[in-house]
Amino acid sequence: MTSEFDNILDKCIDRLSRGESLKKCLTYYPEYKALLEPLLRAMTETATAYSFVFSSEASCMRDAKSSPGETATIIGCK
């Protein structure tokens, strides 16, 4: 039972990570809705709290300066 629920929760987390809505996700497992919903809300709250953006382009340029040839080629830095 616990293992089955763990698997369902895991699938829902994957779905939410791919951008599916919580509401839609819950429709796949109506029998688990009451258990799933609070956990998935905790998950979205946690993930959203750190949803700031890192500047990969700026970092890429900085890295390319310190190691121009090889790095720039491999990681596709302009």
């Binding site: 616990t2 293992s3 629920f5 763990d6 698997n7 929760l9 895991d10 987390i13 994957d14 990570s17 609070p38 956990l39 809300r41 905790a42 998950m43 709250e45 946690t46 993930a47 959203t48 709290a49 750190y50 949803s51 700031f52 953006v53 890192f54 500047s55 990969s56 700026a58 970092s59 890429c60 900085r62 890295d63 190691s67 090889e70 790095t71 491999i74 990681i75 596709g76």
Partner: protein
């Protein structure tokens, strides 16, 4: 005994370099965020995330296609770099809320709300075990599947899913408490 020809080996290395380049696009941010949640310094996290890819590039010949997926391998490198970094600085920082770059920073109200939310989540995560925190970092911030997270942590998928559920149950309680 079968052996890899120099030509085959070079081609394999080139293929892996191409895969690494593709993963840079997809995983740089995720790895930087994963590192940030552990060391709490944005600029340092970006540097370490870049270092992950340099290290991967340098040791690409040692990457085995039959082992964990390449993204899990990258997170293992990230994990080791973080451990080394924390050892060097000899202190574990909490996430410095005032240093966070918020996406919608043109809206001061939204920025403040996001900072409060992050502070609340950071405070709640302190109550989890280190293993539980690591599972959530790899799953939610790193974007790995539970199987990939299991590869990084050298645990079974079942153990990761169990830790994930236990961590979320704890977080749900803590976050609900904080709302009251």
């Amino acid at each position: 005994m079968a052996s890899i020809t120099p030509h085959g080996s070079k081609e394999k290395t080139r293929n892996n370099e191409t895969r690494l380049a593709a993963l840079y696009e997809e995983y740089y941010d995720k790895i930087a965020r994963y590192i940030y949640t552990r060391i709490g310094d944005k600029s340092e996290s970006e540097d370490l995330a870049s270092e992950v890819f340099f290290k991967a590039l340098k040791s690409i010949k040692t990457y085995r296609d039959t082992g964990p997926p390449m993204q899990a391998w990258l997170f293992k490198i990230a994990h080791n770099l973080v451990v080394d970094h924390l050892r060097k600085v000899s202190r574990i920082k909490t996430v410095p809320i005032d240093m966070v770059e918020i996406v919608d920073d043109n809206d001061p109200v939204n920025t403040v709300e996001k900072k409060i939310e992050m502070e609340k989540v950071s405070a709640a995560m302190i109550h989890l075990t280190e293993e539980q925190r690591e599972v959530l970092r790899l799953r939610f911030f790193g974007g790995l599947t539970s199987r990939e997270a299991a590869d990084v942590l050298t645990k079974s998928d079942g153990a990761v899913r169990e830790m994930q559920r236990a961590a979320l149950e704890k977080l749900r309680q803590l976050l609900d408490v904080n709302k009251q």
